[in-house]
């Protein structure tokens, strides 16, 4: 608070020097208010608990088609990877000498899958898929990993309810962790 008071004092004195008769505030008065519509247009973040997942739904079956059209060129026909990351498999390998990190083996939250596909995929045309197709592709990738059944239809509620195999696999940063002196 001391710094804030100093800043206020500086503003007051600057205003006094220039003889400008405005009420001294703690703020600079820079920027304008963001409208709810502006915020809604840009804020597409999904919480790890599924907060803010949009209405709509998508099936594994539909996801298979969208995936082959939009994703397979980089991630492989069955998510085995290519120019893009491998998406499938690897469960049970994380503690092995050759861990395989995929959506199925590594990602802690299914909602992050929706968030990432919607904001950044496909790489050549991000934010071009409908919410329904994002649900569908998410469902398809989860089904390839055996996390949801092949007949699954995912929406806000069911996607948020998916428990990923590696959800509890993360620990906080213990560094400095090397005691060498």
């Amino acid at each position: 608070m001391a710094r804030r008071n100093l800043k206020t004092a500086a503003l007051v004195s600057a205003i006094a020097m220039h003889g400008v008769a405005v009420h001294a505030e703690e703020r600079y008065g820079i920027g304008r208010e963001a409208t709810p519509a502006e915020i809604a247009g840009w804020n597409i973040d999904i919480g790890r608990d599924g907060t803010a997942l949009p209405p709509g739904s998508g099936s594994v079956e539909r996801g298979r088609i969208v995936f082959s059209e939009q994703c397979a060129a980089c991630h492989g026909d069955s998510g085995q990877g290519g120019v893009g990351d491998r998406l499938v498999g690897g469960q049970g390998t994380l503690a092995s000498p050759k861990p395989i990190r995929t959506v199925g083996s590594y990602w802690p939250y299914a909602s992050t899958l929706f968030d990432y596909i919607r904001r950044a995929m496909p790489q050549n045309a991000p934010q071009s898929l409908s919410n329904e197709d994002v649900y569908a592709v998410s469902a398809y990738i989860l089904s390839l990993n055996g996390i949801v059944p092949a007949n699954a239809v995912l929406d806000a509620k069911s996607l948020a309810a998916v428990k990923m195999p590696n959800r509890d696999g993360f620990v906080s940063d213990p560094r400095p962790d090397v005691h060498n002196h």
Partner: protein, 425 residues
């Protein structure tokens, strides 16, 4: 003991070692063939006693280069970009550290990492939105941002995958740790802008989002946002380059590069992290037991000798300056030690002023090379007392698959011909 006294002591010790080394060499037969001691005139039209051709006619006129570029003879000094990357939209390019002097990276050689290509953003149409747990959600134009009281500070920026723990380790200093650069940044403290919106009780994190095709998002702890975080619009005196986030980026001194979100368009104040793809499936550090460390922000102390370093060659016996750079995300570099004998013994390098917090620090050690093979390496010690570890010490704790935050000591092997190669390869 004051810093000045310490500096003098180190300088004096360094001078003594230099003189002793020289005396030892002068007393032995190894001096034979040392460069500069033999008169052997060179031949060439531009060499003495002839007058060089570039003195016999005027040079290029004023205006031939409205934005200056390096000498044509330096055209090999460019970013180190692999020719065999799987793709170039989500990719990285490295600073040629071994070609540079001092601590400031030229803007054209600053390392790059982007996840959805480099956007071309019209600053007139760029906006920063600040919302979430604030009293007044706000939108700023670039003109608005530049109206705030400004600051300029020198800080390094480093990718946390620099290098990974597994072979092949690369040949040059750039191959190894070239995802590292340092610049003078100008912008506004993030705290100033947050005060403008008014943080609400319970605000613990800020999610930053870029206006690139990856809409890259990272969560920043509020303590960092209120400490030394900056919204940056200029780098080394000029506006940010597109590759560095033009027209606006976040700068979090000492935190891993990925968090310093470029093309910054949105800051959302929240109670818990976003758990975005970049802070869960990437930028988490796998451990041998199958767990992974999350939110590993700090770049720990590190150093590398840039001359002589991998890919270079000592063409003559005799005097060579060993020089390199050291840095720490936790503050200032306290000292740098150099070993010339495969890590058996260590001596103090001289630190070039200024030694700044969370900035590159240049170090030097005078050295006489007598032609015998040597392994040279540096280790940094920062103001917290942390000592840069060896690769073996790191791997013993983290295994080979940890990927991020490898800050190991890196040795260079010098053979009898003066060829310098990676000491770990």
């Amino acid at each position: 003991m004051s810093e000045d006294t310490t500096d003098k002591r180190v300088r004096e010790a360094s001078r003594r070692r230099f003189l002793q080394a020289g005396a030892a060499l002068a007393g032995g037969s190894a001096i034979a063939g040392v460069g500069g001691s033999t008169a052997l005139a060179e031949q060439g039209n531009n060499l003495p006693p002839n007058v060089p051709e570039w003195m016999k006619a005027p040079g290029d006129p004023m205006g031939s280069q409205p934005y200056g570029t390096p000498s044509v003879h330096e055209k090999g000094v460019v970013k180190n970009i692999s020719k065999t990357l799987p793709q170039y939209i989500s990719a990285s390019g490295r600073t040629p550290l071994q070609e540079l002097d001092g601590i400031i990276t030229p803007n054209g050689l600053f390392y790059e990492r982007h996840h959805g290509g480099v956007p071309t953003i019209d600053p007139a149409e760029h906006r920063l939105m600040l919302h979430g747990m604030v009293d007044r959600p706000l939108v700023f134009t670039m003109e608005d941002i530049r109206r705030f009281p400004s600051q300029s500070r020198i800080h390094f920026l480093e990718c946390s995958g620099n290098p990974v723990y597994t072979k092949p380790y690369g040949k040059t200093a750039s191959d190894l740790v070239g995802l590292l650069s340092c610049a003078e940044w100008t912008g506004v403290p993030l705290k100033t802008v947050l005060d403008e919106a008014g943080l609400q009780a319970g605000a613990k994190w800020i999610v930053a989002e870029g206006a690139d095709a990856a809409a890259l998002t990272r969560s920043i702890p509020i303590e960092k946002c209120l400490d030394d975080a900056m919204l940056v619009y200029s780098q080394n005196g000029e506006r940010l380059r597109p590759q560095q986030g033009y027209p606006l980026r976040l700068l979090l001194p000492g935190f891993e590069g990925n968090m310093n979100v470029k093309w910054l368009r949105r800051l959302k104040v929240v109670a818990e992290p976003a758990y975005s793809r970049e802070e869960t499936s990437k930028y988490t550090d796998p451990m041998p037991d199958g767990t992974s460390r999350e939110f590993t922000f700090y770049m720990e102390a590190k150093s590398i000798i840039t001359r002589p370093s991998g890919g270079q060659k000592l063409t003559t016996h005799g005097f060579h300056e060993i020089t390199g750079i050291a840095w720490s995300g936790h503050g200032k570099i306290k000292s740098v030690e150099i070993s010339l004998d495969e890590g058996k013994s260590w001596q103090q390098a001289e630190l070039q002023e200024p030694v700044l917090t969370r900035a590159l620090t240049r170090f030097r050690l005078p050295w006489y090379w007598d032609g015998t093979p040597a392994v040279i390496q540096s280790r940094a010690i920062d103001e917290t007392g942390y000592v840069q570890p060896t690769l073996a010490e790191l791997v013993a704790v983290r295994g080979l698959n940890s990927f991020y935050h490898n800050n190991a000591i890196w040795p260079w092997r010098i053979d009898a011909n003066g060829e310098v190669t990676n000491g770990q390869a």
